[in-house]
Amino acid sequence: MFEEVATSKEGEQIINVGPQHPATHGVLHLIITLNGETIVNLEPNLGYIHRSIEKMCESLSYRQFIYTTSRMDYLAAHINNHACALTVEKAMQIEIPERAEVIRILVSELTRIASHELWWGAMAMDLGALSPFFYAFREREVITDIMEETCGARLTMNYMVPGGVMADIHPNFVKRVKDFIIQFKSRIDEYDQLVTGNIIFQNRMKNVGILSKEDAISYGTTGPTARGSGVSCDIRKIYPYSIYGKLQFDEVLETAGDSFARYLVRVKEMKQSISIIEQLIDNIPEGDFQAKTKAVLKLPKGEFYQRVETPRGELGVYIVSEGGTTPYRIKFRSPGFSNLSALNHMIKGHKIGDLVAVMGTLDLVIPDIDR
């Protein structure tokens, strides 16, 4: 039995983390070279949930392909759908009613909060504290209930369609969102008490997985991962889409570049999302929720690219159209894919216990990486 311990060099051993492992949040496979408990090298092995969405979308119409993207980054289904709808609208030059725009932003920001909630709970769980997970899900359930009432599903809503949204908001929507805001604001302090201020937690996060600004850009990281390193990359701010240009909110930036900075960015982003919702919730304009569109959508010949900001970073949808009813080639530039490539650089020289802290703050969603 003893010679089976695979060694690459004297004193080094290789362990496989995943595809089934609680810290990988899905089916990521990491091949880690260890020296004692110190990580010497890490190589991600993807594809355990590669579902060939890009190939599949080539045979789906422009109305149909949107639903597959909900399954890509399922924690931000609305925002993925938004990206696709925006690309189709940009190509067809559809003007969408203002009410639809506002509803889209409202549900997108709620999704962002829900996604960050889940990340917060799951990351605390990875670090060994189990109770925050349950507190995070309590708030998240309120959002899923709101979503269910308006969009008809809890997770993969398929609510946004080219030209607007599928249905008008539910009559209870405004009231429930307002209740949620009040509840959430009192809970966010609990988060700080339980996790942010905790000395064990801070020691686990600080000076772990440092990513410098130059590396963050070179590795193509986006979202909170890059903003923790001081790279301004919030698409909502720098290339505003939809009605984000008219809204007041701050881009959260931290400069330390370690796990704790990424943690703080996400927690502060939740507060920014709340402020966006507060700006809009009382000012939902009257009107249609969907523009009149043809039953069969045909995109003009050309290439279209749309960048949006998901909770994990920049999602790009690249559609090459030959003028037919289905895309000729479709590419999703997913945020997790690039963020993951920085993991090896960030984790080298750290202990295996730090792996969960770094991966936790990268907030990987594996189907989003593999597509």
């Binding site: 089976e4 362990i15 609680p22 408990e37 686990r204 295996i352």
Partner: protein, 358 residues
């Protein structure tokens, strides 16, 4: 006043009247063995159930409630299922050590049970070096964990076992120091004498702040020694899947699981004995009336009450704190706990010599 001592004594007298001396001893040994195993089983079931309920209430949910009233048979069902699971041994394990490991852990836990006074005059083995015996025996359980980790032929298990080794070796020091500071006060290693010395008040109150510090250090150190969160390096589910017991299934896993909870019970029982007076009721100095009222509560209620309070404390830690990293864990011991407990021991010695305690 109700006392178990009377029952055991009269039972012993009755046995002696019908049987010869050797037979009496054999019969009593057999009975104690059965009682100890029964206690183990019951404690395991109760503690696991308690853990799940405590976790549930802290996590704003209900916890097991569908198997039996309030779910009290949940752990029985789990145990029965684990017993009936397929006996399973992976290929390429070191078969002898793999099979032996859970028993080493279990027997260690059983051995420590011997000198613990559960109630007034109710003790398996009244040994005059009780505390020393416990600290000596409790170090053996790490060998079982190392065995399990090594024999499993799994890198996760090995890492977990190595972590556990480093952890227990270092935390034993500060746990020992904390125990020593009480020994310094009592001047005896005999657990019964330690309890007796707390007749006019428990050490945690009589020993001023140093006793409190010793207690905090003790609780932290034993949490680490029993591999409980936030020091559950050896299992560290999100890092090492299952740690040293990754490859164990069914009954062998159940033994590890059970031993973990028995160990918690034991360290808490010792903590209760040293700092909270074991079965000794709550006495305040010379308040005869008050002390007399307290004596009406049976001694085993006091003992189990205190022990379960400490167990709850350890569970409370588990469901609040994140896990430490292995180097931070050792840092905490060598940079903080050990210096503080050494200084604390010094202070305690001064108090003991000067007789400043109550």
């Amino acid at each position: 006043m109700f006392s178990i001592e009377n029952i055991t004594n009269s039972f012993h007298n009755w046995l002696s009247s019908v049987l010869s001396e050797t037979l009496v001893m054999l019969v009593e040994m057999g009975l104690i063995a059965i009682a100890a195993i029964a206690l183990f089983a019951v404690l395991g079931l109760v503690l696991v159930y308690m853990e799940r309920k405590v976790a549930a209430v802290i996590q704003i949910r209900l916890g097991p409630n569908r198997v039996g009233p309030m779910g009290i048979f949940q752990t029985s069902a789990d145990t029965l299922k684990l017993v009936l699971k397929e006996g399973f041994m992976p290929n390429n394990v070191d078969k002898f050590l793999y099979k032996l490991a859970p028993f080493v852990v279990m027997i260690t836990a059983m051995l420590i049970l011997a000198p613990i006074p559960f109630a007034k005059g109710f003790q398996i083995w009244d040994i005059n070096i009780g505390v020393f015996y416990i600290t000596a025996i409790s170090s053996i359980s790490v060998i079982g964990i190392l065995m399990a980790g090594w024999a499993s032929n799994n890198k996760y298990s090995l890492l977990g076992a190595m972590r556990s080794g480093a952890q227990i070796v270092s935390y034993e020091l500060s746990a020992g120091m904390a125990v020593l500071s009480i020994i310094v006060l009592t001047g005896s290693l005999n657990l019964n004498e330690i309890i007796e010395s707390q007749r006019n008040g428990w050490w945690i109150f009589k020993g001023h702040i140093p006793a409190l510090i010793a207690f905090v250090i003790y609780i932290i150190a034993v949490t680490a020694e029993t591999n409980r969160a936030p020091f559950d390096m050896a299992e560290a589910e999100s890092e090492l899947t299952g740690g040293f017991h990754t490859e164990y299934a069914g009954m062998r896993f159940a033994l590890f699981f059970l031993a973990e909870y028995i160990n918690i019970f034991i360290v808490c029982a010792i903590g209760a004995t040293l700092f909270f007076g074991g079965w000794m009721p709550f006495h305040i100095g010379n308040w005869e009336g008050f002390n007399h009222v307290m004596d009406f509560i049976p001694s085993f209620v006091w003992f189990f009450g205190k022990t379960f309070f400490l167990i709850f404390l350890i569970m409370w830690f588990r469901w609040t704190f994140p896990r430490l990293r292995i180097d931070q864990l050792l840092n905490l011991e060598w940079k903080y706990l050990l210096p503080i407990s050494m200084f604390n021991l010094l202070l305690m010695t001064v108090i003991a010599i000067k007789g400043w305690h109550f």
